[in-house]
């Protein structure tokens, strides 16, 4: 890959970078305090852990609403529309090509920030896992109002365990996600891009039409 000439493109806007990093900090804190509340270890003490978990959870919910709003206003949500094209190639790349030094089968571009595997992953994350975690978390938080809200049929244990399963899923995502950032043309390339907004991509690569985000109107 290093034989390719590289060029820099501006991939991640300020707001995207901001929400990415704020969200990452919030999620890590939620994981730590969440598992402490669950009784997995002792760090801050149960009361602090509950307190911080609640506060951050609500903060994140508000931020998330803004993120989703922004995605629809800017049409960035289209970056997440799933496709199976080249999905197989991408999977093959990470399971074998990457060891042979082959180039990535899908290049990043302004209109196609995510490869097909990322699209699927991030769509699952943003549209399913994170909202699931927020809904179960919010219900958990509102436990004492269930009767008033007509939610008396809910069961705290079931809800808490669903929330726990979501927590495990997010933790596993986080591990793989952080590792995947090291698979750029240098180990820190992707992380650096998420700070600066500029990603280095090989030159002279044309982005196929299907990869392109539909033009804005």
């Amino acid at each position: 890959m290093s034989e390719h000439k590289m060029k820099k493109i501006y991939l991640y806007s300020k707001f995207e970078r901001f929400w990415h990093w704020v969200q990452s900090v919030l999620i890590i804190l939620l994981l730590v305090t969440g598992f402490e509340v669950h009784g997995s270890f002792e760090l801050l003490g149960f009361m602090k852990a509950v307190d911080i978990h609640n506060t951050i959870g609500l903060t994140w919910l508000i931020l998330f609403v803004f993120i989703v709003f922004w995605m629809f206003v800017t049409h960035e949500y289209k970056q997440y529309i799933p496709t199976t094209k080249k999905l197989f190639e991408v999977a093959m790349y990470y399971s074998s090509g990457i060891f042979k030094g082959e180039p990535h089968p899908v290049q990043k571009s302004k209109n196609a920030k995510h490869n097909p595997m990322q699209r699927l992953t991030y769509l699952g994350l943003t549209a399913v896992l994170l909202p699931f975690q927020m809904v179960t978390g919010l219900l958990y938080w509102a436990y004492n109002d269930w009767a008033d809200w007509g939610l008396g049929f809910l069961d705290l244990e079931v809800l808490a365990l669903l929330h726990l399963i979501g927590g495990f899923a997010i933790l596993i995502f986080l591990i793989v996600h952080v590792y995947m950032t090291t698979t750029g043309h240098t180990i820190t390339a992707h992380i650096a891009a998420m700070f600066s907004g500029w990603e280095e991509v090989p030159e002279e690569e044309t982005v196929p039409d299907w990869e392109r985000k539909a033009e804005r109107h």
Binding site: G39, G45, F168, I172, V176
Partner: protein, 359 residues
């Protein structure tokens, strides 16, 4: 006539069971003139307490505290364990209301608990804080001598062995046991069949998680070894006090259980098989006095942890205490699996990279 003093009421209530602090772990002579530390309500004014008399809480009149006037009936629908004994029902909520803690932050989390956890559970972290209370009574060793003596005293001066009664265990600063409680107790009578293979609960708190009037309540549990009828599987009533000098049937005359039980059961009009044994028993006392200052209230983690104070209460979920091991195991396996996978992938990339450089 003045109001009755704590001494007046206490002359009976402190000495229940034949001596000071024997029965109740939360009502003893140390409440005649306690410091606030022992009881925030009955504590002396000098120590920062309220100097309440017993009748301040046990009265039929409405309760008014400065700045807080409650027009709701005192009992707020919850039942009372105070039967005919001291008159009216009184609850902590009668004076403090249903939301005694500040609203906002973790204080409102405390208010969230009051529908399931009785105030006493958090506010009386330990009972018998001033003098030891009797926690167990083993009748089976009565009638003998211990080290050749008819009475042996423990380090705190309380009798640990008395020939007439058996062996006692006294404890101070006792952590209560917690049970669901709707304000009523079920008692075992001499007519109720018992299961002598386990501990026999001579009384048992009623209540459950699903009952909206039940709360988790702290109890002193007094254990014992008590005579029972081995064949009919019922508790027995031994005849203890000699009626006169000639009364050879009385246990405290001849120290003969057989005769004492036969005579006691006959007097009570109950059948007795003629075979007795000793069974482990438990008897509960709700703990409601000796409310400690707020700083001494329970921490969240004393309940919300695996082997915390509520570890024996089942059938409901508490964060930090409960989990489903299968989910934990699967979750952590997934997490470790992910770590191992990315580690191996990384090593393979590294090695493959080195090889390519060599070529």
């Amino acid at each position: 006539m003045g109001r009755p003093s704590r001494q007046n009421c206490g002359s009976c209530h402190f000495y229940g069971g034949g001596g000071d602090a024997v029965k109740h772990g939360d009502l003893d002579s140390s409440l005649v003139k306690p410091a606030k530390n022992l009881d925030v309500h009955m504590g002396t004014l000098e120590s920062g307490g309220q100097n309440f008399t017993c009748s301040r809480c046990h009265t039929t009149r409405n309760h008014h505290i400065a700045g807080r006037i409650y027009d709701k009936p005192a009992a707020l629908e919850r039942k009372s364990l105070l039967q005919d004994d001291l008159g009216d029902k009184i609850m902590c909520e009668s004076c403090h209301g249903m939301q005694p803690h500040k609203s906002g932050g973790m204080d409102s989390k405390l208010n969230d608990h009051v529908d399931k956890v009785a105030c006493q559970s958090c506010h009386i972290a330990e009972f018998a804080r001033s003098q030891p209370t009797k926690m167990s009574w083993d009748w089976s060793v009565a009638g003998q001598l211990r080290d050749g003596k008819a009475k042996v005293k423990g380090p705190d001066g309380k009798a640990v062995f008395v020939k007439k009664k058996g062996a006692f265990v006294w404890e101070q600063n006792v952590v209560p046991e917690y049970y669901w409680f709707d304000g009523t107790l079920d008692y075992v009578t001499v007519e109720d069949p018992i299961d002598p293979t386990g501990e026999v609960w001579l009384n048992r708190p009623n209540g459950s998680y699903d009952d909206p009037f039940s709360r988790i309540m702290p109890f002193k549990v007094h254990r014992g070894k008590t005579p029972y009828d081995k064949v009919n599987k019922v508790m027995v009533i031994p005849h203890l006090f000699p009626r006169n000098k000639e009364d050879k049937d009385a246990y405290w005359k001849s120290f003969d259980w057989q005769k004492a039980i036969k005579s006691g059961m006959k007097y009570a009009g109950q059948k007795y098989s003629g075979e007795y044994g000793f069974v482990d028993t438990a008897y509960v006392f709700p703990t409601t006095h000796m409310v400690a200052p707020r700083e001494k209230a329970l921490d969240c983690a004393q309940c919300h942890t695996k082997d915390g104070r509520l570890e024996n209460l089942e059938g409901f979920y508490m964060p930090g205490r409960d989990s489903v091991e299968l989910i934990n195991a699967a979750g952590w396996t997934g997490v470790i699996g992910a770590l191992v996978a990315v580690f191996i992938h990384g090593v393979m990339r590294f090695v493959a990279g080195l090889r390519r450089k060599e070529d």
